[in-house]
Amino acid sequence: MNEIISSTINYNKTGMTNAFGWFDISSEDRDRVSALKTLVEENINDIIRDFYDRSGGFDHPTRHMADADHIARIREEQKRHFLELVETGLSEDYYETRRDAGTFNERSGVSPSFYMGAYSYFLKRISTLIREQSDDKDQAVEIIMSLQKIASCHKALTLEAFSNAREEAIEAREREMSELPVPVLKMRDGMLLVPVVGTLDSHRARLLTTRMLDAIRDHSARAVVLDITGVAAVDSAVANHLIQTMTAARLMGANSVLTGITADVAQSLVKIGVTGQALNPAGDLQRGIETAEQLLDG
């Protein structure tokens, strides 16, 4: 347990050391790339301009980005990103800036393929320049190989950061969904409708149970329609919770029917071994309300 905690805290340094190891980057590689600083600085604006201006079959996403400011920001970040490759010399701050670039790409809608495309265009242009300007052909090859290695590491870390940022964004959206209220509606005397929307994490599942069971008591409800059309995924924990809630409702004296099991959800329920019987399914909402009315009047 302690090991995991300490490795989490030192993630940046460990990540950096590992990354250098994985890509076999030596201090000579780093020196060679740092020496390219002037070359890159002198040419970066042309390269980026050419990348956007060149004609050809590449339908890059910036064409769909109507906002000129937005494109300008992306071009500015690309410039910073490429300069960083030669400027920082992969210093202490390197890992953090990778993270920033990845987060930037995620936020700005720069897809990994667009990013890789731009990167490979940049490398091609710089490599050509290195070959043109070098008298010693062997030396030029070595420089290019060092550049490739460090650029691979640079790209890998940025993409990793991109995927982390994407994950964080998804988690944040899920957290927002989990803040959604759980409404319990009274359809008529003795009948409740509980539409469940969003993600049912454990906090929200508990809230759902409490709200539904309290409402059964407060409204003297004898039938409950639990509609899960708006629930994207039902895993075994959620299914189990729904079964438990419906069983608790029965103990209180209210029968419940479950509606809105989508085809996807039905398939995953079968896979985890949940049978229809336990969930008392009634098809769509309309049928569910009819079933509940029969329960009330029958």
């Binding site: 409490t210 069971l213 008591r217 438990q244 809630t245 608790a248 103990l251 209180m252 004296g253």
Partner: protein, 118 residues
Amino acid sequence: MTRQVPILRQKELLIASVQEELSDSEILDLQTRILEEIAHKPTKHVIVDVSLVDVLDSFGTRTLTEIASAVELRGARMAIVGIQPEVAMSMVLLGLTLETVPTALDLDDGIALLKRAS
């Protein structure tokens, strides 16, 4: 025995209103008295009202199930009414799902339920 669960009779209906805290010996005493009542006077329906009870654990649930089975063997039907939300959830989590005993929200529902069933 200082406290006893009050049992009311209304013709062929018995109503036992369980008080807030139910000890094991009190619930065993209730079992004996319900079965005695049934033995002495014709009884069709028995309702055990637990709306005041805030804990129903495995022993309590098992004894209530046993009372219901015994009542059934005497030719009557029993329902449990008024299980509170948090009690219901605790029972489910404990694995006590009262498959064999009908349950209802309150006295009226319980009476209606038993009349429909018979």
